[in-house]
Symmetry: C2
């Protein structure tokens, strides 16, 4: 460690290295809490060249590195392990003005998502991904976890926003594809490797992101539904009527809705008591027409008894309140003492059977446990929470995920916390292929080691 500090002290300049009492407690963890080791040392480069120097030096010394962005993850990917130094991108927060010719924007990895959203918005453009942690999560973390959120239905995941990346490999070499060409097949598309690989193959330092025209307006409905079958039926009708203008389709389980309502802190759009609730967002070119179409679909579904009460947001305040409720759901579950959270994806054709079967499997382990569900139903992505920390529940839930051919990590990544369950979604051949990639790009295993999968010889 002292060799490392000697080598990097001059490189990183004033404020570039924090040690001892300067290391803040927040470095110990992520959105799940500060459960990790307090690192001995935090390295805070200001430029890509400094990141390259840091990694080349660490690689030479065999020094393990954990990369930290906004510390908003939910899988422990940024939680330090013993012996690791922290590489923080927090001094690389630059955001360039959007480039109108290519409809892209260039940002440094440490820039908060919200800063990029605002820069895009000020040019009349939109970044397609939005997540609740927008104010503190960073572009580097968004790329590394392939962030999703509420508008994947329309704009895809973070991968779909990435027009180019600059990445530093473990040996300090720099790969750059920031030109933003729409079509480029001159050899392998290397940037794809670093999207969603949770910092295990390289450190993202800059990203060029695609932007979209800002929609003319937002039409938002809040709907009570009788069950999963009705929710899927309504989704199909909305897709047929609204096409790509349907931009979010969020589900809230009745138990969770009731629990949040009981706290009394928020204006609830509808009375509690329904089995499920939905947030339906439409952001097309013609809000008045969109609104008419949405009302027609909801009316027809209500006439057939498939959906219950529904309200349309009538004002900016209504819209803000509904999204505030949506963001309160995750916060509510984080406050529970013994909660286990599952970030899973299931094919839409299997989701009804999955919900029923998993509910029974959880009850068999813990009859009193509440199942709290919310998530991005349009993508088959459920945040499925159980307020009981019995490890048998995790095995039961992931067993049902595996049986349904689903994913144990839809949008929060694998990190340290989901690693024991990777084989529920991935074959031995796939995990072996991941290890081959790790060995090819980080042969000494210094980068975010032990995240996603173990290396041979690790405990």
């Amino acid at each position: 460690m002292s060799a490392l500090l000697d080598l990097l002290g001059d490189t990183l300049g004033p404020g570039g290295i924090q040690t001892g009492a300067d290391v803040e407690a927040r470095r110990r963890g992520d959105g799940n809490g500060p459960h990790g080791v307090l690192p001995d040392c935090v390295l805070r480069p200001r430029t890509t060249e400094e990141v390259a120097s840091v990694l080349a030096t660490c690689d030479r010394l065999g020094q393990r590195v954990v990369v930290q962005g906004g510390l908003t993850g939910f899988a422990g990917g940024a939680r330090p392990l013993a012996g690791e130094v922290v590489l923080s991108l927090e001094r690389m927060r630059g955001v360039a003005p959007p480039d109108p010719a290519s409809a892209t924007i260039l940002a440094e990895a440490g820039a908060p998502l919200e800063a990029v959203q605002q820069a895009a918005g000020s040019a009349g453009l939109l970044l397609g991904v939005d997540i609740g942690a927008r104010g503190s999560c960073t572009i580097g973390g968004n790329v590394a976890t392939n962030a999703g959120g509420i508008r994947v239905l329309r704009y895809g995941m973070f991968r779909d926003q990435v027009a180019g990346l600059e990445v530093v490999l473990a040996d300090g070499s720099v790969l750059s594809s920031l030109s933003g060409l729409r079509k480029d097949n001159a050899g392998y598309d290397l940037k794809q490797l670093f999207i969603g690989s949770e910092g295990t193959l390289g450190v993202v330092t800059r990203a060029r992101l695609r932007l979209h025209p800002k929609p003319a307006g937002e039409v938002l409905a809040f709907v009570a539904a009788s069950g999963i079958a009705a929710v899927l039926d309504l989704l199909a009708r909305l897709r047929a009527a609204l096409g790509a203008s349907l931009s979010a389709y969020e589900m809230i389980g009745g138990t969770l809705y009731q629990a949040v309502a009981l706290e009394g802190a928020l204006r609830m759009p509808l009375a509690a008591g329904a089995p499920l609730y939905l947030i339906v967002e439409v952001t097309g070119a013609e809000p008045a027409r969109d609104r008419g179409r949405l009302e027609a679909v909801l009316g027809a579904a209500a006439d057939e008894g498939r959906v219950g009460d529904a309200v349309l947001a009538e004002s900016a305040r209504d819209i803000a309140d509904i999204w505030r409720l949506r963001e309160a759901l995750g916060r509510y579950t984080l406050k529970l003492a013994k909660v286990q959270g599952f970030d899973i994806a299931i094919g839409l054709d299997r989701i009804a059977a999955f919900m029923e079967k998993t509910g029974r499997a959880v009850a068999a382990v813990s009859p009193a446990a509440r199942v709290l569900v919310f998530g991005h139903l349009g993508d088959g992505n459920l945040h499925y929470l159980v307020d009981d920390d019995d490890p048998a529940i995790a095995k039961a839930v992931y067993g049902c995920v595996a049986e349904a051919g689903g994913s144990i990590a839809a949008e929060h990544g694998v990190g340290l916390d989901k690693k024991p369950y990777l084989s529920y979604s991935r074959s031995a051949a796939e995990i072996n292929a991941m290890r081959r990639l790790k060995a090819a790009f980080d042969p000494k295993g210094i980068l975010n080691r032990g995240r996603i999968f173990d290396l041979s010889g690790d405990p």
Copy 2:
């Protein structure tokens, strides 16, 4: 070779191996002509398991393999080299009915693109990629080259259509991600590796492809323009007015248009003589409104003198004739005796300067050479052809591409033919990273060896 045939004879069954006089002359090459070596042996598996057996056996023996699909490429990727056996996917042509719940379709690698398009169409859905070779090119080749074509503007390249892949690695292990989950971040997204890597990292055996709602109608205009600046200005106006409904924006250079007109074989929509021509396609939900908007934009641009004559297709025959003309452009250039073709991409903000500078650079080498240009201008992708085979012209054109930060291989791949120019678009660090990937997945270098880049020790 005889050891290989002994080992695989039983595995592949009747018709599974062609040797000697049974090897057809067409195996020698691709869309550029049969310029390669006639292979001694063609292996024709019927199943993924047979592909796995073939590769495991070849890997053990160190037998080099070139993969062949529809033989419609333009970069020599499928052209056999001495000592290679051919692995053809032509007996794996299955296409499943589309799955409406996930809006995807599952196809075997040897299925022609057109067969998948037709299966999607019969279910009221659309595959987003269309290219002229649709009748004979295959899904495996489309994935391996990340095919583009005329509708990238709206639907993206082939990568964007791929929901999942089944791939056999050089050692015969099989990676499969065919479940078609919309969100899945359980470890690395391995399928991305095989899209656009031209069969050098694995052999695609099946693909699950995303489908889109079929547009309600097609509005097509053919427009004469005064130059590149006018073309870019019109593109910006159309995007603002039509958004995602603008689905194709194809450019034809005046010299090429005149040459095709002089052949007299086709109905030309407008008189020759303009510097540039455009095909503008709009495929939205409301064709009548789309048509009105398109006419309004074209009318305004004409009033300002930015575009010249314009015609809108009035019938299915008009539409077919315009696309027939579009597809005749490539065929015309292939007939020229000494033509050199460049498949390049340039950022839209640099394309005007690039065209002028490259024209001068070509003229400096060969004052009489004609420059024939067409392509997907909306993506910055130009098919830039010169009817003179002086190698100095390639160096001049690629030098201008490099200076503009462009791509030497936009949508046709690198193969054998563009390989000498890869460094015009890719840094040494990037090419080194590609070699690391190749070594990780094909350590003996048996798969499509020498395509994209050379391995160490190769001539």
